[in-house]
Symmetry: C2
Protein backbone atom coordinates (compact mmCIF):
# COMPACT_ATOMS: atom_id res chain seq x y z
CA UNK A 1 0.00 0.00 0.00
CA UNK A 2 1.46 3.32 -1.12
CA UNK A 3 0.41 6.68 0.38
CA UNK A 4 1.64 10.08 -0.70
CA UNK A 5 -0.51 12.42 1.42
CA UNK A 6 -1.93 12.30 4.95
CA UNK A 7 -4.17 14.68 6.85
CA UNK A 8 -4.38 13.95 10.55
CA UNK A 9 -5.40 16.16 13.48
CA UNK A 10 -5.10 19.30 11.40
CA UNK A 11 -1.66 18.46 10.02
CA UNK A 12 -1.18 18.12 6.23
CA UNK A 13 1.85 16.04 5.30
CA UNK A 14 3.07 14.90 1.89
CA UNK A 15 5.86 12.64 0.69
CA UNK A 16 8.55 14.85 -0.91
CA UNK A 17 8.58 13.44 -4.45
CA UNK A 18 11.78 15.24 -5.42
CA UNK A 19 13.71 12.90 -3.08
CA UNK A 20 12.31 9.54 -4.25
CA UNK A 21 13.49 6.83 -4.75
CA UNK A 22 16.56 7.66 -2.64
CA UNK A 23 14.70 8.87 0.42
CA UNK A 24 11.11 8.71 1.73
CA UNK A 25 10.78 12.01 3.58
CA UNK A 26 7.44 13.46 4.73
CA UNK A 27 7.13 17.23 4.85
CA UNK A 28 4.44 19.28 6.57
CA UNK A 29 2.55 21.92 4.55
CA UNK A 30 1.09 24.35 7.09
CA UNK A 31 -0.18 27.07 4.73
CA UNK A 32 -1.25 27.81 1.18
CA UNK A 33 2.14 29.43 0.62
CA UNK A 34 3.94 26.28 1.72
CA UNK A 35 1.67 24.16 -0.49
CA UNK A 36 2.10 26.43 -3.51
CA UNK A 37 5.87 26.25 -3.06
CA UNK A 38 5.77 22.45 -2.82
CA UNK A 39 3.63 22.32 -5.99
CA UNK A 40 5.95 24.66 -7.89
CA UNK A 41 9.10 22.74 -6.98
CA UNK A 42 7.32 19.41 -7.71
CA UNK A 43 7.63 18.00 -4.21
CA UNK A 44 3.89 17.57 -4.82
CA UNK A 45 2.98 16.64 -8.39
CA UNK A 46 0.42 14.81 -10.51
CA UNK A 47 -2.78 16.56 -11.52
CA UNK A 48 -5.15 14.90 -8.99
CA UNK A 49 -2.58 15.07 -6.16
CA UNK A 50 -2.06 18.80 -6.74
CA UNK A 51 -5.81 19.40 -6.46
CA UNK A 52 -6.16 17.43 -3.20
CA UNK A 53 -3.12 19.12 -1.65
CA UNK A 54 -4.41 22.58 -2.57
CA UNK A 55 -7.80 21.77 -1.07
CA UNK A 56 -6.37 20.71 2.30
CA UNK A 57 -3.94 23.64 2.33
CA UNK A 58 -6.86 26.04 1.84
CA UNK A 59 -8.75 24.33 4.66
CA UNK A 60 -5.83 25.18 6.97
CA UNK A 61 -5.87 28.88 6.09
CA UNK A 62 -7.06 31.81 8.16
CA UNK A 63 -10.61 32.60 6.86
CA UNK A 64 -9.53 36.21 6.36
CA UNK A 65 -6.83 35.07 3.90
CA UNK A 66 -9.03 32.50 2.15
CA UNK A 67 -9.51 34.29 -1.18
CA UNK A 68 -5.87 35.46 -1.41
CA UNK A 69 -4.62 31.98 -0.54
CA UNK A 70 -6.88 30.49 -3.21
CA UNK A 71 -5.41 32.82 -5.83
CA UNK A 72 -1.89 31.99 -4.73
CA UNK A 73 -2.53 28.26 -5.08
CA UNK A 74 -4.30 28.59 -8.42
CA UNK A 75 -1.24 30.33 -9.89
CA UNK A 76 1.25 27.71 -8.69
CA UNK A 77 1.07 25.73 -11.96
CA UNK A 78 -0.89 26.75 -15.05
CA UNK A 79 -1.42 23.52 -17.01
CA UNK A 80 -3.05 21.07 -14.58
CA UNK A 81 -6.77 21.82 -14.63
CA UNK A 82 -7.40 19.90 -11.38
CA UNK A 83 -5.69 22.64 -9.43
CA UNK A 84 -8.10 25.35 -10.61
CA UNK A 85 -11.00 22.90 -10.30
CA UNK A 86 -10.19 22.10 -6.67
CA UNK A 87 -9.62 25.75 -5.77
CA UNK A 88 -12.96 26.70 -7.34
CA UNK A 89 -14.77 24.04 -5.34
CA UNK A 90 -13.12 25.27 -2.16
CA UNK A 91 -14.09 28.88 -2.93
CA UNK A 92 -17.68 27.81 -3.54
CA UNK A 93 -17.71 25.94 -0.22
CA UNK A 94 -16.24 28.90 1.66
CA UNK A 95 -14.02 28.92 4.77
CA UNK A 96 -16.63 27.40 7.09
CA UNK A 97 -17.17 24.25 5.04
CA UNK A 98 -13.57 24.13 3.73
CA UNK A 99 -12.36 21.11 5.68
CA UNK A 100 -15.40 19.02 4.80
CA UNK A 101 -15.00 19.97 1.14
CA UNK A 102 -11.29 19.05 1.15
CA UNK A 103 -12.13 15.64 2.60
CA UNK A 104 -14.87 15.22 -0.02
CA UNK A 105 -12.46 16.05 -2.85
CA UNK A 106 -9.90 13.62 -1.45
CA UNK A 107 -12.44 10.80 -1.02
CA UNK A 108 -13.92 11.32 -4.49
CA UNK A 109 -10.52 11.29 -6.19
CA UNK A 110 -9.52 8.14 -4.33
CA UNK A 111 -12.75 6.42 -5.20
CA UNK A 112 -12.33 7.37 -8.85
CA UNK A 113 -9.03 5.50 -9.11
CA UNK A 114 -10.43 2.00 -8.71
CA UNK A 115 -13.20 2.70 -11.23
CA UNK A 116 -10.66 4.08 -13.73
CA UNK A 117 -8.60 0.94 -13.26
CA UNK A 118 -11.58 -1.33 -13.94
CA UNK A 119 -12.83 0.56 -17.00
CA UNK A 120 -9.32 0.75 -18.46
CA UNK A 121 -8.60 -2.94 -17.89
CA UNK A 122 -11.93 -3.87 -19.51
CA UNK A 123 -11.02 -1.75 -22.53
CA UNK A 124 -7.50 -3.20 -22.84
CA UNK A 125 -8.35 -6.81 -21.98
CA UNK A 126 -5.50 -9.04 -23.16
CA UNK A 127 -2.85 -6.31 -23.42
CA UNK A 128 0.30 -7.73 -21.81
CA UNK A 129 3.04 -5.28 -22.78
CA UNK A 130 2.02 -1.77 -21.76
CA UNK A 131 4.06 1.41 -22.19
CA UNK A 132 3.53 4.39 -19.90
CA UNK A 133 5.04 7.83 -19.42
CA UNK A 134 5.73 10.00 -16.38
CA UNK A 135 4.08 8.94 -13.12
CA UNK A 136 0.35 8.39 -12.83
CA UNK A 137 0.22 6.16 -9.76
CA UNK A 138 -0.69 6.74 -6.17
CA UNK A 139 2.06 9.34 -5.93
CA UNK A 140 0.28 11.41 -8.57
CA UNK A 141 -3.15 10.99 -7.02
CA UNK A 142 -2.67 11.07 -3.24
CA UNK A 143 -3.84 7.51 -2.71
CA UNK A 144 -5.90 4.83 -4.41
CA UNK A 145 -3.71 3.48 -7.19
CA UNK A 146 -3.66 6.40 -9.59
CA UNK A 147 -4.98 6.77 -13.12
CA UNK A 148 -2.95 5.10 -15.92
CA UNK A 149 -1.05 3.08 -13.30
CA UNK A 150 -4.38 1.95 -11.81
CA UNK A 151 -5.23 0.55 -15.24
CA UNK A 152 -1.88 -1.25 -15.32
CA UNK A 153 -2.36 -2.61 -11.80
CA UNK A 154 -5.84 -3.89 -12.64
CA UNK A 155 -4.53 -5.56 -15.81
CA UNK A 156 -1.78 -7.15 -13.68
CA UNK A 157 -4.39 -8.40 -11.21
CA UNK A 158 -6.22 -10.10 -14.08
CA UNK A 159 -3.26 -11.63 -15.95
CA UNK A 160 0.39 -11.36 -16.90
CA UNK A 161 1.56 -7.79 -17.61
CA UNK A 162 4.93 -6.21 -18.22
CA UNK A 163 5.26 -2.44 -18.09
CA UNK A 164 7.75 -0.39 -20.07
CA UNK A 165 8.23 2.86 -18.13
CA UNK A 166 9.67 5.87 -19.97
CA UNK A 167 12.12 7.76 -17.77
CA UNK A 168 10.45 11.12 -18.51
CA UNK A 169 13.14 13.74 -18.80
CA UNK A 170 13.77 16.33 -17.56
CA UNK A 171 12.64 15.40 -14.05
CA UNK A 172 12.69 11.62 -14.45
CA UNK A 173 9.32 10.94 -12.82
CA UNK A 174 9.17 7.63 -14.69
CA UNK A 175 12.62 6.47 -13.59
CA UNK A 176 12.26 7.76 -10.04
CA UNK A 177 8.58 7.36 -9.19
CA UNK A 178 6.87 4.91 -11.56
CA UNK A 179 9.66 2.34 -11.24
CA UNK A 180 9.52 2.74 -7.45
CA UNK A 181 5.74 2.16 -7.43
CA UNK A 182 5.88 -0.80 -9.84
CA UNK A 183 8.62 -2.43 -7.74
CA UNK A 184 6.50 -1.97 -4.60
CA UNK A 185 3.46 -3.40 -6.39
CA UNK A 186 5.45 -6.38 -7.67
CA UNK A 187 4.53 -5.71 -11.31
CA UNK A 188 7.23 -6.77 -13.81
CA UNK A 189 8.70 -3.74 -15.54
CA UNK A 190 11.62 -2.27 -17.45
CA UNK A 191 12.85 1.29 -17.87
CA UNK A 192 13.77 3.01 -21.14
CA UNK A 193 14.76 6.49 -22.25
CA UNK A 194 11.91 8.51 -23.74
CA UNK A 195 13.42 8.42 -27.22
CA UNK A 196 13.43 4.60 -27.25
CA UNK A 197 9.66 4.28 -26.94
CA UNK A 198 8.71 4.97 -30.58
CA UNK A 199 11.21 2.48 -31.97
CA UNK A 200 10.15 -0.27 -29.56
CA UNK A 201 6.51 0.35 -30.45
CA UNK A 202 7.38 0.12 -34.16
CA UNK A 203 9.18 -3.19 -33.56
CA UNK A 204 5.95 -4.71 -32.23
CA UNK A 205 7.10 -4.89 -28.62
CA UNK A 206 4.19 -2.97 -27.09
CA UNK A 207 0.46 -3.84 -27.05
CA UNK A 208 -0.90 -0.54 -25.71
CA UNK A 209 0.17 2.90 -24.49
CA UNK A 210 -1.58 4.20 -21.35
CA UNK A 211 -0.91 7.66 -19.93
CA UNK A 212 -2.55 10.19 -17.65
CA UNK A 213 -3.21 13.83 -18.49
CA UNK A 214 -3.04 17.27 -16.95
CA UNK A 215 -5.93 18.66 -18.99
CA UNK A 216 -8.30 17.25 -21.60
CA UNK A 217 -9.88 19.93 -23.80
CA UNK A 218 -13.52 19.85 -24.89
CA UNK A 219 -12.59 18.44 -28.32
CA UNK A 220 -10.53 15.63 -26.77
CA UNK A 221 -7.06 17.14 -27.24
CA UNK A 222 -4.85 16.04 -24.35
CA UNK A 223 -2.17 18.03 -22.52
CA UNK A 224 0.21 15.68 -20.70
CA UNK A 225 3.85 15.51 -19.65
CA UNK A 226 6.29 16.48 -22.38
CA UNK A 227 7.12 13.43 -24.52
CA UNK A 228 3.59 12.04 -24.61
CA UNK A 229 2.74 13.25 -28.12
CA UNK A 230 5.60 11.30 -29.72
CA UNK A 231 4.33 8.09 -28.08
CA UNK A 232 0.86 8.79 -29.50
CA UNK A 233 2.27 9.27 -33.01
CA UNK A 234 4.17 5.98 -32.72
CA UNK A 235 1.10 4.14 -31.38
CA UNK A 236 -1.00 5.34 -34.31
CA UNK A 237 1.70 4.36 -36.83
CA UNK A 238 1.87 0.87 -35.26
CA UNK A 239 -1.90 0.48 -34.94
CA UNK A 240 -1.94 -0.04 -31.17
CA UNK A 241 -4.27 1.75 -28.69
CA UNK A 242 -3.24 5.06 -27.15
CA UNK A 243 -5.37 5.44 -24.03
CA UNK A 244 -5.63 8.41 -21.63
CA UNK A 245 -6.78 7.65 -18.06
CA UNK A 246 -8.04 10.59 -15.99
CA UNK A 247 -10.61 11.50 -13.34
CA UNK A 248 -13.46 13.58 -14.78
CA UNK A 249 -12.01 16.55 -12.88
CA UNK A 250 -9.27 16.62 -15.55
CA UNK A 251 -11.83 17.13 -18.35
CA UNK A 252 -12.02 20.84 -19.09
CA UNK A 253 -15.14 21.81 -20.99
CA UNK A 254 -14.04 25.44 -20.70
CA UNK A 255 -11.05 24.87 -22.98
CA UNK A 256 -12.15 24.35 -26.57
CA UNK A 257 -9.03 22.74 -28.05
CA UNK A 258 -5.40 21.95 -27.27
CA UNK A 259 -4.39 25.23 -28.90
CA UNK A 260 -6.08 27.04 -25.99
CA UNK A 261 -4.07 25.24 -23.31
CA UNK A 262 -1.29 27.28 -21.69
CA UNK A 263 1.90 25.18 -21.75
CA UNK A 264 4.10 25.89 -18.74
CA UNK A 265 7.75 26.61 -19.62
CA UNK A 266 9.97 25.58 -16.69
CA UNK A 267 13.45 26.44 -15.49
CA UNK A 268 16.41 25.91 -17.84
CA UNK A 269 18.42 24.13 -15.17
CA UNK A 270 15.97 21.23 -15.21
CA UNK A 271 17.43 20.43 -18.65
CA UNK A 272 21.00 21.59 -18.09
CA UNK A 273 21.39 19.49 -14.96
CA UNK A 274 20.53 15.98 -13.82
CA UNK A 275 20.52 15.46 -10.07
CA UNK A 276 22.39 18.74 -9.67
CA UNK A 277 25.13 17.73 -12.11
CA UNK A 278 25.70 19.92 -15.18
CA UNK A 279 25.36 17.82 -18.36
CA UNK A 280 25.99 20.52 -20.98
CA UNK A 281 27.94 23.72 -21.48
CA UNK A 282 27.24 26.13 -18.57
CA UNK A 283 24.65 28.76 -19.46
CA UNK A 284 23.35 27.00 -22.60
CA UNK A 285 19.96 28.44 -23.68
CA UNK A 286 17.14 25.95 -23.15
CA UNK A 287 13.59 25.24 -24.30
CA UNK A 288 11.76 23.45 -21.49
CA UNK A 289 8.01 23.07 -22.06
CA UNK A 290 6.64 20.89 -19.27
CA UNK A 291 3.81 19.49 -21.39
CA UNK A 292 2.79 18.79 -24.94
CA UNK A 293 -0.58 18.42 -26.64
CA UNK A 294 -1.72 15.18 -28.25
CA UNK A 295 -4.51 15.85 -30.78
CA UNK A 296 -7.76 13.99 -30.20
CA UNK A 297 -7.35 12.17 -33.51
CA UNK A 298 -4.50 10.16 -31.96
CA UNK A 299 -6.41 9.27 -28.78
CA UNK A 300 -8.10 5.86 -28.95
CA UNK A 301 -10.06 6.43 -25.74
CA UNK A 302 -10.28 8.57 -22.63
CA UNK A 303 -10.99 6.41 -19.58
CA UNK A 304 -12.62 8.08 -16.56
CA UNK A 305 -14.30 6.79 -13.41
CA UNK A 306 -17.62 7.15 -15.23
CA UNK A 307 -16.61 5.03 -18.21
CA UNK A 308 -14.85 5.21 -21.57
CA UNK A 309 -15.13 8.07 -24.04
CA UNK A 310 -13.98 8.05 -27.68
CA UNK A 311 -13.31 11.69 -28.59
CA UNK A 312 -13.03 10.92 -32.30
CA UNK A 313 -15.38 8.30 -33.76
CA UNK A 314 -13.49 5.53 -35.53
CA UNK B 1 38.32 25.00 -36.03
CA UNK B 2 37.41 21.75 -34.27
CA UNK B 3 39.49 18.58 -34.57
CA UNK B 4 38.68 15.22 -32.98
CA UNK B 5 41.43 12.97 -34.44
CA UNK B 6 45.08 13.47 -35.34
CA UNK B 7 47.64 11.15 -36.88
CA UNK B 8 51.18 12.41 -36.66
CA UNK B 9 54.51 10.58 -36.89
CA UNK B 10 52.87 7.21 -36.45
CA UNK B 11 50.82 8.27 -33.41
CA UNK B 12 46.99 8.07 -33.52
CA UNK B 13 45.30 10.35 -31.01
CA UNK B 14 41.61 11.10 -30.48
CA UNK B 15 39.67 13.48 -28.27
CA UNK B 16 37.98 11.40 -25.54
CA UNK B 17 34.32 12.24 -26.24
CA UNK B 18 33.08 10.76 -22.97
CA UNK B 19 34.74 13.65 -21.11
CA UNK B 20 33.39 16.58 -23.15
CA UNK B 21 32.34 19.31 -22.50
CA UNK B 22 34.00 19.22 -19.06
CA UNK B 23 37.47 18.26 -20.26
CA UNK B 24 39.32 18.16 -23.60
CA UNK B 25 41.61 15.18 -23.16
CA UNK B 26 43.48 13.51 -26.03
CA UNK B 27 44.13 9.78 -25.74
CA UNK B 28 46.55 7.69 -27.81
CA UNK B 29 45.22 4.57 -29.55
CA UNK B 30 48.26 2.39 -30.23
CA UNK B 31 46.55 -0.79 -31.41
CA UNK B 32 43.35 -2.22 -32.86
CA UNK B 33 42.46 -3.46 -29.37
CA UNK B 34 42.82 0.04 -27.93
CA UNK B 35 40.76 1.48 -30.79
CA UNK B 36 38.04 -1.18 -30.46
CA UNK B 37 37.83 -0.44 -26.75
CA UNK B 38 37.58 3.32 -27.39
CA UNK B 39 34.82 2.66 -29.95
CA UNK B 40 32.87 0.37 -27.61
CA UNK B 41 32.99 2.80 -24.69
CA UNK B 42 32.14 5.73 -27.03
CA UNK B 43 35.32 7.70 -26.44
CA UNK B 44 35.28 7.55 -30.25
CA UNK B 45 31.81 7.76 -31.79
CA UNK B 46 29.91 8.91 -34.89
CA UNK B 47 29.70 6.62 -37.90
CA UNK B 48 32.35 8.35 -40.10
CA UNK B 49 34.71 8.95 -37.14
CA UNK B 50 34.57 5.27 -36.16
CA UNK B 51 35.53 4.26 -39.69
CA UNK B 52 38.50 6.64 -39.86
CA UNK B 53 39.75 5.62 -36.41
CA UNK B 54 39.51 1.92 -37.28
CA UNK B 55 41.45 2.52 -40.51
CA UNK B 56 44.36 4.26 -38.76
CA UNK B 57 44.38 1.71 -35.95
CA UNK B 58 44.70 -1.09 -38.51
CA UNK B 59 47.53 0.77 -40.23
CA UNK B 60 49.42 0.69 -36.91
CA UNK B 61 49.05 -3.09 -36.51
CA UNK B 62 51.67 -5.79 -36.92
CA UNK B 63 51.07 -7.20 -40.47
CA UNK B 64 50.89 -10.70 -38.94
CA UNK B 65 47.90 -9.62 -36.84
CA UNK B 66 46.20 -7.64 -39.62
CA UNK B 67 43.25 -9.98 -40.29
CA UNK B 68 42.62 -10.69 -36.61
CA UNK B 69 42.79 -6.99 -35.77
CA UNK B 70 40.35 -6.24 -38.59
CA UNK B 71 37.87 -8.76 -37.19
CA UNK B 72 38.24 -7.30 -33.71
CA UNK B 73 37.51 -3.78 -34.94
CA UNK B 74 34.60 -4.87 -37.12
CA UNK B 75 32.88 -6.41 -34.07
CA UNK B 76 33.29 -3.33 -31.86
CA UNK B 77 29.87 -1.93 -32.80
CA UNK B 78 27.32 -3.66 -35.01
CA UNK B 79 25.05 -0.88 -36.30
CA UNK B 80 27.36 1.70 -37.93
CA UNK B 81 28.03 0.48 -41.45
CA UNK B 82 31.05 2.78 -41.89
CA UNK B 83 33.05 0.62 -39.52
CA UNK B 84 32.64 -2.52 -41.63
CA UNK B 85 33.10 -0.44 -44.79
CA UNK B 86 36.43 1.02 -43.60
CA UNK B 87 37.67 -2.36 -42.35
CA UNK B 88 36.81 -3.96 -45.71
CA UNK B 89 38.72 -1.27 -47.59
CA UNK B 90 41.73 -1.77 -45.33
CA UNK B 91 41.60 -5.55 -45.83
CA UNK B 92 41.46 -5.07 -49.60
CA UNK B 93 44.46 -2.72 -49.44
CA UNK B 94 46.45 -5.12 -47.27
CA UNK B 95 49.12 -4.37 -44.64
CA UNK B 96 51.62 -2.85 -47.10
CA UNK B 97 49.28 -0.15 -48.39
CA UNK B 98 47.41 0.20 -45.10
CA UNK B 99 48.71 3.62 -44.08
CA UNK B 100 48.07 5.13 -47.51
CA UNK B 101 44.56 3.69 -47.51
CA UNK B 102 43.81 5.07 -44.01
CA UNK B 103 44.93 8.53 -45.13
CA UNK B 104 42.75 8.18 -48.26
CA UNK B 105 39.70 7.23 -46.19
CA UNK B 106 40.33 10.16 -43.85
CA UNK B 107 40.79 12.66 -46.71
CA UNK B 108 37.73 11.42 -48.58
CA UNK B 109 35.50 11.63 -45.50
CA UNK B 110 36.74 15.14 -44.72
CA UNK B 111 36.17 16.28 -48.27
CA UNK B 112 32.68 14.80 -48.24
CA UNK B 113 31.63 17.02 -45.35
CA UNK B 114 31.80 20.32 -47.18
CA UNK B 115 29.88 18.90 -50.13
CA UNK B 116 27.20 17.48 -47.83
CA UNK B 117 26.89 20.91 -46.22
CA UNK B 118 26.43 22.63 -49.58
CA UNK B 119 23.90 20.15 -50.96
CA UNK B 120 21.93 20.18 -47.70
CA UNK B 121 21.87 23.97 -47.48
CA UNK B 122 20.72 24.20 -51.11
CA UNK B 123 17.89 21.77 -50.35
CA UNK B 124 16.81 23.61 -47.18
CA UNK B 125 17.31 27.17 -48.43
CA UNK B 126 15.40 29.53 -46.16
CA UNK B 127 15.07 27.18 -43.20
CA UNK B 128 15.94 29.22 -40.10
CA UNK B 129 14.86 27.02 -37.20
CA UNK B 130 16.49 23.61 -37.49
CA UNK B 131 16.14 20.70 -35.08
CA UNK B 132 18.86 18.06 -34.81
CA UNK B 133 19.53 14.96 -32.73
CA UNK B 134 22.68 13.40 -31.29
CA UNK B 135 26.01 14.73 -32.58
CA UNK B 136 26.84 14.83 -36.27
CA UNK B 137 29.54 17.47 -36.29
CA UNK B 138 33.30 17.34 -36.58
CA UNK B 139 33.43 15.19 -33.45
CA UNK B 140 31.39 12.52 -35.25
CA UNK B 141 33.44 12.74 -38.46
CA UNK B 142 37.06 13.32 -37.41
CA UNK B 143 37.27 16.74 -39.05
CA UNK B 144 35.62 18.82 -41.71
CA UNK B 145 32.36 19.98 -40.16
CA UNK B 146 30.39 16.76 -40.01
CA UNK B 147 27.21 15.69 -41.77
CA UNK B 148 23.93 17.14 -40.45
CA UNK B 149 25.90 19.77 -38.52
CA UNK B 150 27.76 20.68 -41.72
CA UNK B 151 24.37 21.42 -43.29
CA UNK B 152 23.49 23.59 -40.29
CA UNK B 153 26.83 25.40 -40.45
CA UNK B 154 26.42 26.08 -44.18
CA UNK B 155 22.87 27.41 -43.61
CA UNK B 156 24.31 29.64 -40.84
CA UNK B 157 26.98 30.90 -43.24
CA UNK B 158 24.26 31.90 -45.71
CA UNK B 159 21.74 33.49 -43.32
CA UNK B 160 20.22 33.56 -39.84
CA UNK B 161 19.82 30.11 -38.27
CA UNK B 162 18.87 28.89 -34.82
CA UNK B 163 19.45 25.27 -33.90
CA UNK B 164 17.37 23.27 -31.43
CA UNK B 165 19.61 20.45 -30.19
CA UNK B 166 17.97 17.41 -28.59
CA UNK B 167 19.95 16.21 -25.59
CA UNK B 168 19.96 12.58 -26.81
CA UNK B 169 19.57 10.33 -23.82
CA UNK B 170 21.02 8.08 -22.63
CA UNK B 171 24.52 9.38 -23.35
CA UNK B 172 23.62 13.01 -23.95
CA UNK B 173 25.68 13.49 -27.10
CA UNK B 174 23.43 16.42 -28.04
CA UNK B 175 23.79 18.17 -24.68
CA UNK B 176 27.49 17.43 -24.30
CA UNK B 177 28.89 17.47 -27.84
CA UNK B 178 26.53 19.27 -30.24
CA UNK B 179 26.04 22.19 -27.86
CA UNK B 180 29.82 22.38 -27.39
CA UNK B 181 30.40 22.46 -31.15
CA UNK B 182 27.62 25.00 -31.81
CA UNK B 183 29.00 27.27 -29.09
CA UNK B 184 32.48 27.04 -30.65
CA UNK B 185 31.06 27.77 -34.10
CA UNK B 186 29.07 30.76 -32.80
CA UNK B 187 25.76 29.42 -34.13
CA UNK B 188 22.72 30.43 -32.01
CA UNK B 189 21.19 27.38 -30.37
CA UNK B 190 19.03 26.01 -27.56
CA UNK B 191 18.89 22.62 -25.88
CA UNK B 192 15.77 20.55 -25.20
CA UNK B 193 14.98 17.11 -23.85
CA UNK B 194 14.26 14.52 -26.55
CA UNK B 195 10.60 14.27 -25.59
CA UNK B 196 10.07 18.01 -26.17
CA UNK B 197 10.94 17.88 -29.86
CA UNK B 198 7.65 16.52 -31.22
CA UNK B 199 5.54 19.07 -29.35
CA UNK B 200 7.70 22.00 -30.45
CA UNK B 201 7.53 20.77 -34.06
CA UNK B 202 3.72 20.54 -33.78
CA UNK B 203 3.59 24.11 -32.44
CA UNK B 204 5.23 25.37 -35.63
CA UNK B 205 8.53 26.27 -34.00
CA UNK B 206 10.76 24.25 -36.33
CA UNK B 207 11.30 24.62 -40.11
CA UNK B 208 13.26 21.41 -40.73
CA UNK B 209 14.74 18.37 -38.98
CA UNK B 210 18.26 17.35 -40.04
CA UNK B 211 19.99 14.28 -38.65
CA UNK B 212 22.85 11.93 -39.53
CA UNK B 213 22.62 8.15 -39.74
CA UNK B 214 24.54 5.05 -38.83
CA UNK B 215 23.22 3.00 -41.74
CA UNK B 216 20.87 3.67 -44.66
CA UNK B 217 19.33 0.49 -46.10
CA UNK B 218 18.85 -0.07 -49.82
CA UNK B 219 15.17 0.90 -49.62
CA UNK B 220 15.95 4.17 -47.81
CA UNK B 221 15.14 3.06 -44.26
CA UNK B 222 17.45 4.88 -41.85
CA UNK B 223 19.05 3.57 -38.66
CA UNK B 224 20.12 6.44 -36.43
CA UNK B 225 20.52 7.25 -32.75
CA UNK B 226 17.57 6.20 -30.61
CA UNK B 227 14.96 8.97 -30.57
CA UNK B 228 15.26 9.85 -34.25
CA UNK B 229 12.13 8.00 -35.42
CA UNK B 230 9.83 10.05 -33.16
CA UNK B 231 11.22 13.28 -34.63
CA UNK B 232 10.50 11.92 -38.14
CA UNK B 233 6.91 11.10 -37.19
CA UNK B 234 6.44 14.60 -35.81
CA UNK B 235 8.00 16.20 -38.89
CA UNK B 236 5.65 14.30 -41.18
CA UNK B 237 2.63 15.23 -39.05
CA UNK B 238 3.66 18.92 -39.21
CA UNK B 239 4.54 18.87 -42.91
CA UNK B 240 8.17 19.94 -42.47
CA UNK B 241 11.20 18.28 -44.11
CA UNK B 242 12.99 15.40 -42.38
CA UNK B 243 16.45 15.23 -43.94
CA UNK B 244 19.22 12.68 -43.40
CA UNK B 245 22.80 13.81 -44.11
CA UNK B 246 25.44 11.10 -44.60
CA UNK B 247 28.55 10.28 -46.59
CA UNK B 248 27.89 7.65 -49.27
CA UNK B 249 29.90 5.24 -47.11
CA UNK B 250 26.85 5.10 -44.82
CA UNK B 251 24.61 3.84 -47.64
CA UNK B 252 24.41 0.07 -47.37
CA UNK B 253 23.20 -1.58 -50.56
CA UNK B 254 23.78 -4.95 -48.89
CA UNK B 255 20.98 -4.36 -46.38
CA UNK B 256 17.60 -4.55 -48.05
CA UNK B 257 15.41 -2.79 -45.45
CA UNK B 258 15.45 -1.43 -41.92
CA UNK B 259 14.14 -4.77 -40.66
CA UNK B 260 17.50 -6.31 -41.62
CA UNK B 261 19.55 -3.85 -39.54
CA UNK B 262 20.95 -5.25 -36.28
CA UNK B 263 20.07 -2.81 -33.48
CA UNK B 264 22.73 -2.73 -30.78
CA UNK B 265 21.36 -3.11 -27.22
CA UNK B 266 23.72 -1.36 -24.80
CA UNK B 267 24.43 -1.57 -21.08
CA UNK B 268 21.57 -1.01 -18.62
CA UNK B 269 23.61 1.40 -16.52
CA UNK B 270 23.59 3.94 -19.38
CA UNK B 271 19.87 4.36 -18.58
CA UNK B 272 19.97 3.77 -14.82
CA UNK B 273 22.69 6.37 -14.32
CA UNK B 274 23.49 9.88 -15.53
CA UNK B 275 27.10 10.94 -15.08
CA UNK B 276 27.61 8.05 -12.68
CA UNK B 277 24.63 9.03 -10.52
CA UNK B 278 21.83 6.48 -10.07
CA UNK B 279 18.49 8.00 -11.20
CA UNK B 280 16.18 5.05 -10.54
CA UNK B 281 15.78 2.08 -8.22
CA UNK B 282 19.05 0.09 -8.09
CA UNK B 283 18.97 -2.97 -10.35
CA UNK B 284 15.89 -1.91 -12.35
CA UNK B 285 15.58 -3.92 -15.61
CA UNK B 286 16.25 -1.77 -18.67
CA UNK B 287 15.62 -1.72 -22.42
CA UNK B 288 18.45 0.23 -24.07
CA UNK B 289 18.46 0.02 -27.87
CA UNK B 290 21.14 2.41 -29.14
CA UNK B 291 19.35 3.08 -32.43
CA UNK B 292 15.95 3.08 -34.06
CA UNK B 293 14.81 2.74 -37.65
CA UNK B 294 12.99 5.51 -39.50
CA UNK B 295 11.08 4.11 -42.48
CA UNK B 296 11.94 5.60 -45.86
CA UNK B 297 8.39 6.91 -46.22
CA UNK B 298 9.17 9.51 -43.51
CA UNK B 299 12.48 10.61 -45.07
CA UNK B 300 12.15 13.70 -47.26
CA UNK B 301 15.68 13.40 -48.62
CA UNK B 302 19.05 11.75 -48.05
CA UNK B 303 21.86 14.26 -48.63
CA UNK B 304 25.30 12.88 -49.54
CA UNK B 305 28.48 14.41 -50.91
CA UNK B 306 27.29 13.34 -54.36
CA UNK B 307 23.92 15.09 -54.13
CA UNK B 308 20.39 14.63 -52.87
CA UNK B 309 18.39 11.39 -53.09
CA UNK B 310 14.67 11.00 -52.51
CA UNK B 311 14.14 7.39 -51.43
CA UNK B 312 10.37 7.60 -51.80
CA UNK B 313 8.97 9.65 -54.67
CA UNK B 314 6.54 12.32 -53.50
Amino acid sequence: MITALRFDEGRLEVLDQTLLPDEERWIELDSATAAADAIRRLAVRGAPMIGITAAYALALEDPARFAAAAAELRDARPTAVNLAWAVDRMLAAGPERALAEAHAIHDEQEGANAAIGRHGADLLAGAQRVLTHCNTGTLACGAGGGTALAVVAELAARGPVEVLACETRPLLQGARLTVWELARLGIPHALCVDGAAAGLIARGEIDAVVVGADRVAANGDVANKVGTYAHALAAQAAGIPFVVAVPVSTLDAGTATGADIVIEERDADEVRRVGGRLVTVEGTPVRNPAFDVTPAALVTAVVTERGVMHPVAR
